[in-house]
């Protein structure tokens, strides 16, 4: 059919059993959110990878431009004082 439209692209985020946060795992095409969830279940959790799924329409994500990388991130390179490596931690605090 000539008026056939592509389904929009959705980004898929999974929370694994061990993980606390959702991690990006890939993308897929689906007509709407409900279908995207079902598709994500079939495409990305076939091997029990997840216990929770988020889907987000790819065109709803506002992303930084690769060309802005230098302006956005390079100025932090010489500001080592922003890292908390100058503190001496007591031994009792193990898991910082």
């Amino acid at each position: 059919m000539s008026d056939r439209k592509e389904w929009p692209l959705w980004e898929v985020f999974l929370r694994s059993k061990a993980g606390l946060d959702h991690k990006h795992c890939g993308s897929l095409h689906a007509a709407d959110g409900a279908m995207a969830l079902q598709m994500a279940r079939d495409v990305y959790t076939r091997r029990q990878e997840g216990v929770s799924i988020w889907v987000v329409r790819a065109d709803q994500i506002v992303a930084s431009a690769p060309d802005d990388k230098a302006a956005l991130f390079d100025p932090m390179a010489d500001k080592i004082y922003r890292h908390p490596t100058f503190y001496e931690l007591p031994d009792e605090v193990n898991h910082m």
């Binding site: 389904w7 095409h29 689906a30 079902q38 598709m39 279940r41 079939d42």
Partner: protein, 253 residues
């Protein structure tokens, strides 16, 4: 003893063959789905059904006691010995018919698994308990397609209505009871199929209505696959499914 003379084996084989034949039909679409995502989804469902078939066939083979394992039962029986409802063997047709046929069957399975968890056959009860969850997902996924296509464009609605008109008479068989079913019900193996109709309709009819489809009037037609009398489609399906096993008997990976 021939399987046909043992109602317990027959009862299990009917369920096993329903899952096996529908799995084979759905797996025909592997790599040919309308898009990558539904292709994977339908193939997943096919694999789940195949898993059910393997458990049920193994169980039937054990009960039969003739030394036939799941492979012997799947690959070395001919069409007349298959006991799946005719609904499962019908050609896929278009995507509407593919989804609706599978939906009609898995929604029947959903009603049946719920009852079979109380079966007097502990192995069957365990298979039902295991299959229950996956079948719930199959119903959701396939039902979703019935809804989307039924209540979709003029073209998709027309195709889904055509599929319903074609398939609906074949659902009659799912609720037919014969001597095998009565024997099964008498020993608490499973419910009489006729008692499943109300629950099935309560699940399916609201969805069809929501999908803006008109449910065809009941017709006197009853298909007879569960008694081993099949449509011509089954022979072709089995030819493809069994050809490798029969060309290389006893072969291993």
């Amino acid at each position: 003893m021939n399987a046909a003379t043992n109602p317990h084996v027959n009862y299990i084989l009917r369920l096993a063959d329903g899952s096996l034949v529908l799995a084979q039909r759905l797996s025909e679409l592997c790599g040919k789905g309308p898009a990558l995502e539904p292709d994977i989804a339908l193939t997943n469902i096919a694999l789940d059904l195949l898993g059910q078939a393997r458990l049920l066939l193994s169980h039937a083979g054990t009960l039969e006691g003739q030394g036939r394992d799941e492979d012997a039962l799947a690959y070395w029986r001919d069409a007349k010995d298959f006991l799946n409802p005719t609904l499962c063997e019908l050609p896929n047709g278009d995507f509407a018919q593919t989804c609706l046929r599978a939906y009609c069957y898995v929604s029947w399975q959903a009603v049946l698994w719920a009852q079979l968890q109380q079966s007097s056959d502990a192995a069957l009860a365990a298979i039902a308990a295991k299959s229950c969850k996956e079948t719930r997902y199959h119903c959701e996924h396939l039902g979703d397609w019935v809804l989307r296509l039924g209540d979709g464009t003029a073209e998709s609605h027309a195709r889904m209505q055509r599929a319903l008109d074609y398939l609906y008479p074949y659902t009659n068989e799912l609720f037919d009871s014969d001597a095998t079913d009565e024997a099964a019900a008498a020993v608490g193996l499973g419910p009489l199929p006729s008692t499943l109709a109300a629950d099935w309709q309560a699940q399916v009819l609201p969805l069809l209505t929501e999908a803006t489809l008109s449910v065809p009037a009941t017709v006197p037609f009853h298909s007879t696959g569960r008694r081993g009398v099949h449509s011509e489609a089954l022979g072709h399906l089995l030819g493809e499914m069994q050809v490798v096993a029969r060309a290389h008997p006893g072969a291993h990976w």
